[in-house]
Each structure stands twice: as C-alpha cells, then as structure tokens.
Symmetry: C2
DNA sequence: CACGCTAATTTGTATGATTTATTAATAGGG
DNA sequence: CCCTATTAATAAATCATACAAATTAGCGTG
C-alpha cells in the first residue's frame, strides 16, 4: 500500500461515506497533519479503489464538516482543528477509538454542564403541552425500568436518551435542538452506563421532571446541575 | 417555472453550494415541508439547470447537515426539524432573512448565556501561555479601538469576534471549539453592533480578560454572565 | 387470499470529456 | 538586473452518459 490508504471495496454502507470516514479518521488522528495537502483526486481514487464520483462526494462531506478545503490547482488541504465541527454527530461517531474514551466523555460532560441546566430551565418555561405529555410518558417508562426486578440496560439507555433529547427539543430555541442528537450519539457510542445507574439516578430525574412540569425554571436548572454532578462522580477520572 | 425552483446559471461561487443554498432555504422557510419527498434528481437538474453531479453534491451537503435523507427508489426526503444541525455555520448563514432577525439573535443569546460563562471559566483554568499572550494582544487592540476618537465599527466587530473565539479555543475542550466559528458567523451576518458598543463594553471585557489571565474561573464565569446581561439589555425585544 | 416473482423507478457508482481557476514560469520592457 | 504582463501547466469543477443496485408496486399464480 503506497501511502497508508487501504482499499475498501466490497462493504455495506454508502461508498462515499465509508471513504469519508477513512479520511476523517486519518485527519482526526493526526495521521494527515493540519494544513497539509492530501493526494490528488486521481491518486486517492486509486488508493481507495473507488471512482472519482464517490471520492468527490466524500471530500464534499468532509468539507462541510470543516475538515477539508479544496481549491483548483492547489489541491485539497486539511484545515486546522479550530474549524472542525465537533458538534456534528457523524464526526463524533468517527472519533471512536481515536482519543482516550474517558477523557472524551469527560470533555463531553464539560459541555453538558454548560448547556443542560440552561436547557432544562428553558424547557420548564417553554415546553408545549404536547411536549410535557410526552415527557411525562417517558418518565413513567424510566420509573418502570428502574423499579423492575432485573435492570434492562439497553432500555434504560434508550429512555434516558429520549428524556434528555426531548428536553432540548422543548426549549423553544433552535440552537438547542442539535444537542439532542449529539447526546444520542454520545450515549450510543461512547457512554456506557453501569447497571446501577437506573436505580440511583431515578430520583435525580424525578427532580428535573417535576421542576419542568411545574414550570419552575430555577429549580429545573438546579436539578439538572445536581444530576450532572452525580454523573461526574461516576466517571473514572 | 414549474415548481418554484429558479435557474441559477451564471453566478460566482461553487455551483453545488449555490444549489444547496437554494434548496436549504426552501426547507428552512417551510416551502418544502418536513417529511415531504423532493422532486427526483433529474427534475431538479432541469429546474436548476445544472448537471446531476452538481446536484448530487448539493444533496450530499444538505444530507450532512441533517436536512435531507435519500434512499434508492423512494427518493430524497426532507427530514424533521429536530435533526437539522443549527450549530453548523453554513446553515446559520443560510438562515439570513428566513426568520425574524431579532428573534433569531435573541435565541442565539439564549445559547451564549449557557455556553459562554462556562467557556470563560474553562479558559481561565486551561488556556496555554500562547493563548494568554494572544488574548492579551487582542484585548489591547480592543482598548485602542474603544479609546479612539472615531469609533471604527468594522474593526471593533473583528476584534470582538476574535476575543470571544479565542476564549472558546482556550477551553481545552474540543466540544467548545465550534462555538468560535458559530459566533463569528452570527457576528458577521446577523448581529449588528451599535456605534456605542465599544466604549460601553470595554470595561466588561476587561473584567473577563483579567479574570482569565488571573486564572480565576469563578470570576471569569461571573464577568461573562454580566457581559451577556448587558448585551441582552441592548436587544430590541 | 396469500405468496413470490417481475418490472419499473430512483438513487448509487463509474468513466471520460470539457471548463474554470490558480499558480508558476517565461518573455518582454524598463 | 528587476519588475510586470502574458502564457502555460495543473488540479479541481462541472458536464454528460452509461450502467449497477436497491426497493417498491403491481402482476400473476398457486
């Protein structure tokens, strides 16, 4: 293999996404340094064993995530890390195995710490009737799972994700919407709940839940902060 | 014109981006409803007057921003708003003129309120020596502009943007990085500073600046909060 | 009525030709 | 010898066309 790229012919998912993932991981890991020019389209086509169409769509995908920038004659360049969109779910998925998992989760918690208490406060004020009904429904499911004889970890992660996502969707603020998907991605790919999470967390969730339902934004903010502190104490770092 | 799409032949920037922008704006404005199937590739090619290559790259771009999803035989569908990535700078640019500007800025302030105080606190703790030097340099420029006889609004916006962006870059947390670009985009496209901002804000910025330089994270958080409160009071709503 | 097969439609991938934009080299003039 | 303008080379951008794959819908048969 001439320059570290492997052929990926014969796989399942959309071709250009696979190619994009491969290139992305080389960028994220630093194997392709920032500000460096990556090989020309034709070279990459050969190395990946795909057509220019597929490769170009992959490059476009990475460009839209801020990883690459291409100009005629000069070539395609890896842009600096400050421009990478780490708030893109797909990019986050691609980070799997690149950086230390615990550190990554810890940094994510650093984001949640900022955004979630405020999201809960906004949701307490702005959630629609439908959203409150839905939240109520989800919380009931949480209780059921927490009180069950055997703790179903998969189900817990699912409703936990739904619970927090719905809160972001209930803020009435478009800029909070994407955090629901980011959280979902992180829960699915990086954060692994322990089997005791359900029983220990249910009271914290109840605090958040009832504060939002009561429209008490200050209490909701506080309850969320408390919950995140508890989450932090469980981290290995 | 058969279904509301205009030909965009003969323009400046990259073709597929222009096409993507057109489609995106129709989605963002609701002209193309959520969950609806957009016309087939061939139809869109005709309506835009571009080749299938260009159109497909446009669709891929929108897919990566969570606006579209396409499957063979079924077609390309507008996904629901909850999945749109409003934390993507390009998408934010495309919002121009779509929603009420004041409301949009107000919602953005709702995001800054959550994220920026915490970012300042993290920067106070984690900024490297180089970043502190750079911040110091930028703050000096702010002072110069604020103290100048005639207030240069363009320069002020530029250094103000740099100041806040650098703080996000100094958090040592990858998830905070994108906010620098988002803020830059918002400042450039939506937020219009009044001519008195420089003189009135310089003290607030000094508080943030010196708290970060001193490594006092609590004070930095508080100073940022105070600053945002002042910004809020200037909003028309 | 149920099941499976076929056909039609739409996106996915491939390939080659042409156009455009940018750099770099080269020639001409001061 | 240096500076400027023109030109040539190059890599991405766009176009056009052909074929493959996937999925749905409809047909036909048991």
């Amino acid at each position: 293999m001439n320059s570290g790229f492997e052929s990926i012919a014969g796989s399942k998912r959309s071709l250009h996404v696979q190619v994009a993932r491969e290139i992305a991981r080389k960028i994220l890991s630093g194997q392709l340094p920032q500000n460096s020019i990556i090989p020309s389209e034709l070279e990459l086509c050969e190395q990946f064993g795909v057509s220019r169409t597929a490769l170009r769509e992959a490059v476009k995908l990475l460009t839209s995530k801020g990883l690459l920038k291409s100009r005629p004659k000069v070539g395609t360049k890896v842009v600096e890390r400050a421009y990478w969109n780490f708030l893109d779910s797909q990019l986050i998925e691609w980070m799997d195995g690149i950086s230390d998992n615990d550190e990554f989760c810890s940094q994510f918690l650093g984001l949640r710490n900022a955004i979630e208490p405020e999201a809960c406060a906004l949701a307490a004020r702005n959630a629609t009737v439908e959203q409150r009904m839905k939240l109520s429904e989800i919380f009931e499911q949480m209780c059921d799972i927490a009180n069950a004889d055997v703790f179903d970890q998969v189900k817990w992660t699912s409703v936990d994700t739904q619970f927090h996502s719905l809160i972001f969707n209930s803020t009435g603020n478009v800029f909070y919407l994407p955090f629901g998907n980011i959280l979902t991605t992180m829960f699915a790919n990086f954060i692994h709940h322990s089997s005791t999470d359900g029983s220990t967390c249910i009271e914290e969730h109840r605090q958040i839940y009832s504060a939002i339902m009561a429209g008490n934004s200050d209490k909701a903010r506080l309850a969320s902060s408390t919950h995140l502190q508890a989450v932090k104490s469980k981290l290995p770092i």
